[in-house]
């Protein structure tokens, strides 16, 4: 079996960008350990691994933000604007009757829609 050292050097594509703001960070221990492990798996630097992890986290963050935004937008459409300044409501009994209708109507065979 050929040793790893004898294999042609094929460095993985680096995640570090050629451009962008530079920054200096203090990395928490647990994150540094994860980055070191990923760097070892990919055969790249710890900084490169950190960028990969950050990119994955940023993608998840953006996805969650998009979902939350869409969810709020839909809810705003459901709530809408109040249609009555001085609403007239059904009586207690009428409201109760309506509220319990699902069980009576929704799954009844032959229910007239």
């Amino acid at each position: 079996m050929a040793s790893r050292a004898s294999e042609p050097a094929t460095a993985p594509e680096r995640a570090l960008p050629a451009r962008g703001p530079r920054t200096t960070l203090r990395v928490p221990e647990h994150l540094a350990e994860t980055a070191e492990r990923l760097a070892g798996e990919l055969g790249t630097s710890r900084n490169d691994a950190l960028i990969r992890l950050a990119a994955r986290g940023a993608e998840a963050y953006e996805r969650e933000a998009r979902i939350a935004s869409r969810s709020e937008e839909r809810w705003a459409a459901v709530v809408g604007d109040p249609r009555f300044d001085r609403p007239d409501f059904p009586s207690d009994d009428e409201a109760r009757e309506a509220a319990m209708a699902f069980r009576r109507e929704a799954l009844e065979p032959g229910f007239d829609r």
């Binding site: 809810w75 459901v78 709530v79 809408g80 109040p82 249609r83 009555f84 609403p87 007239d88 409501f89 059904p90 207690d92 009428e94 409201a95 109760r96 009757e97 309506a98 509220a99 319990m100 209708a101 699902f102 069980r103 009576r104 109507e105 929704a106 799954l107 009844e108 065979p109």
Partner: protein
């Protein structure tokens, strides 16, 4: 202990009723009323079915406003509750024997039974008691839960808060 409202309790919520006063007091005390999402589904269905009558439109708007304003907290049937509900349904596929005077068809009773199981499982997994006017059926579900999970604290069935 805080109790989850089922459909029978939520159906009594009215703009001019005492349950609303209780709900708002609870919200101010930062211990909001909890309502099963399934019960909310049922009630919204009933109001929407009568939406041509502007009074029901007003009622639906009012209920929507309560939800939007966090006057109560809707508790969903999540994955854990769904798992429990499925197990309960398998153990007790049919509701308890019909009460005298119950004129619902078998299909309707089955549908109502599934909804009750979902509501009970929601309360159980959320760590809540269950508030209902229909204690008999829910106590049957609570007994199944005890049989399934004897080491867990049983689901307590209580009456409406007011």
């Amino acid at each position: 202990m805080t109790a989850l409202w089922d459909t029978s309790v939520l159906s009594r919520l009215h703009p001019e009723g005492s349950l609303l006063e209780y709900m708002l007091d609870q919200a101010l005390a930062e211990n909001p009323v909890r309502i099963a999402s399934v019960a909310l589904l049922e009630v919204a269905y009933g109001y929407e079915r009568r939406i041509q009558d502007p009074r029901y439109q007003a009622l639906l708007d009012w209920l929507t406003g309560l939800l939007a304003g966090n006057a109560f907290h809707a508790v969903s049937l999540d994955g854990r509750a769904a798992l429990v509900a499925g197990r309960v349904r398998a153990r007790m596929p049919h509701p308890p024997a019909t009460r005298r005077g119950d004129r619902r068809s078998k299909t309707m009773r089955q549908a109502a039974w599934l909804l009750d199981i979902e509501i009970a499982a929601t309360a159980y997994m959320a760590g809540l008691d269950l508030a209902t006017e229909n204690r008999r059926d829910f106590e049957s579900i609570a007994r199944v839960l005890v049989a399934l999970f004897p080491r867990a604290e049983p689901l307590a069935i209580v009456g409406p808060p007011v």
